[in-house]
Amino acid sequence: MNSPLKVELGRRYHFSASHRLHSPQLSEEENCRVFGKCNNPYGHGHNYVVEVSMSGDIDPATGMIANLADLDSFVERHVLEEFDHKSLNEDAPAFRAKVPTTENLCIEIFQRLKSFHKAKLERIRVEETGNNSFEYAGDSLEGNQP
């Protein structure tokens, strides 16, 4: 990219899911102390917002970094279908062995979207509530090039 300016496309997606923060490596008391009410036995849910940032050259023919319909269907298939109206603990294989904190969810979504080949994934930001959000931009060694 030789342009003096860098342009990114940002798109927000919404899904709702339940989770419970619980680590089998910790005792009952420790789980309770570390996770507080997020450790309540039957879980709870959030309306999550996933903010996806993609960079790339603007195609002069379309004015776009990536066609939104392509990005939307990719995110639908790789993220929303997987997580929307599901239990992250019970339904998502990624969280069989990992606590479904929004930090881990952010990394998981990044891994799922980095293979979008029409633009470069810059970062994922997940809002768990209006007051808590998490960002992940990949590890520098990961080479998340399109």
Partner: protein
Amino acid sequence: MVLLTRKIEFSASHRYHNPNLSAEENRRIFGKCNNPHGHGHNYTLQVTIEGEPDPVTGMVLDLKELKEILESEVMQRMDHRHLNYEVAELAGQIPTCENIARVIWQLLEPKITQGRLHRVRLYESPDLFADCYRNVANGAGKS
């Protein structure tokens, strides 16, 4: 370094249409954004300036001055306008969020004399936006 952000809102209409493509291609690529008579949005623009606070005033730049720059460069050009027909800087470009953000950067950058432009973020709707930065990767950020 401190970042300072000011937000403004404007409303404008646009249409995505490339005259070099066939009617079918335009429809396929742009979908309902290609509807012949256009449509509109309430845009939200966030302009972020970077700099050191002046030791006397405590300000990176006078917000009143930034407000005036945004009024003359953005509001007067784009608010309640049709972006395809009434904004000379967008002539020949599809008025996507990406292109509008880039044009706004190019309009503002030379006008900011205290601090310097850090980011232009333009929301077309709450779920779609574009960010424009100086491209640090090719050394353009090292001035």
